[in-house]
Symmetry: C2
Subunit: 165 residues, 2 copies
């Protein structure tokens, strides 16, 4: 029962937004995607995805682990890393290399470019889908005879909201 609303493809989350809706949308999309692929979004995996979506800030594996333990559930590092590996493989979350942390993908199942703007003041990371940046990278890589397998584009700085203050 998700409300129909346009997905922000590169919008910063409004500070006053209803984040429950973000979570609900993400979980519903994950259920749908896994069902379509014949993959099992188990209770554990679903819970980990929910925790990754706790906010719009990248979350560390051990933060997730602490919360799982708080749930009363038995959990150890492999518990959370295995769930994260699954979610990464399904494209439901991304890994933020420069923070050793994970964040939910706002448009899983769709082909998209992936860049992050990471605010070092408030911790928010916004996923961009900027084809122009990828294109610039493609061109240079091609000129070097380099075949791209994966891209990491993570820009840190100060977001508009924090700058306003």
């Amino acid at each position: 029962m998700t409300t129909a609303r346009p997905k922000p493809r590169a919008g910063a989350p409004k500070s006053g937004h209803n984040h429950r809706a973000c979570i609900a949308t993400a979980l519903a999309a994950a259920e749908k995607l896994c069902a379509a692929r014949g993959e099992q979004l188990t209770a554990l995996r679903r819970r980990v995805l929910e925790l990754v979506w706790a906010g719009h800030k990248p979350v560390g594996a051990y933060q997730i682990l602490d919360i799982l333990r708080g749930d009363g559930r038995s959990a150890a590092p492999p518990t959370v890393y295995r769930a994260l590996d699954f979610l990464l493989a399904q494209g439901l979350v991304h890994r933020v290399e420069s923070l050793n942390a994970f964040i939910g993908c706002p448009h899983p199942g769709e082909t998209h470019a992936t860049q992050f703007l990471i605010c070092s003041r408030c911790g928010t990371a916004v996923e961009l889908d900027d084809a122009g940046i990828d294109k610039a990278i493609d061109g240079t890589a091609a000129r070097m005879g380099f075949v791209i397998a994966a891209r990491t584009v993570e820009i840190s700085g100060t977001c508009a909201e924090c700058r306003g203050r």
Copy 2:
């Protein structure tokens, strides 16, 4: 006594190149830069820089540590991390986030864009200085009202040489 030769700003190192020259050039440039800035390129820092330049592959802090210990020198993790922190602050090395490793900068002291093409087959990382990529990122960040402080652009894939095989 460095040989005068053009610095490759974005060229992959030739497989048969004289790497001793790369190291010598890098060390000479570091000496010069530190002298100009009144910073101390101590024997330890110089040695760590030399080790980072052992090849054109990013090097892990604990690899460096092992070699330092092999030197007969007393060394612990802070030994190498402090040296690396200094070299990073001086712009003599870069950190490769996606590998948790470090690589020498081929043109320290010059303002430059920094992107890496990382071959997952041979491990070589080439530093690019592509203003076009940075420009694409600048434009998008500006549109989002985001003020950039640092950029991480790391592309992994297969280099031309490995692809040829």
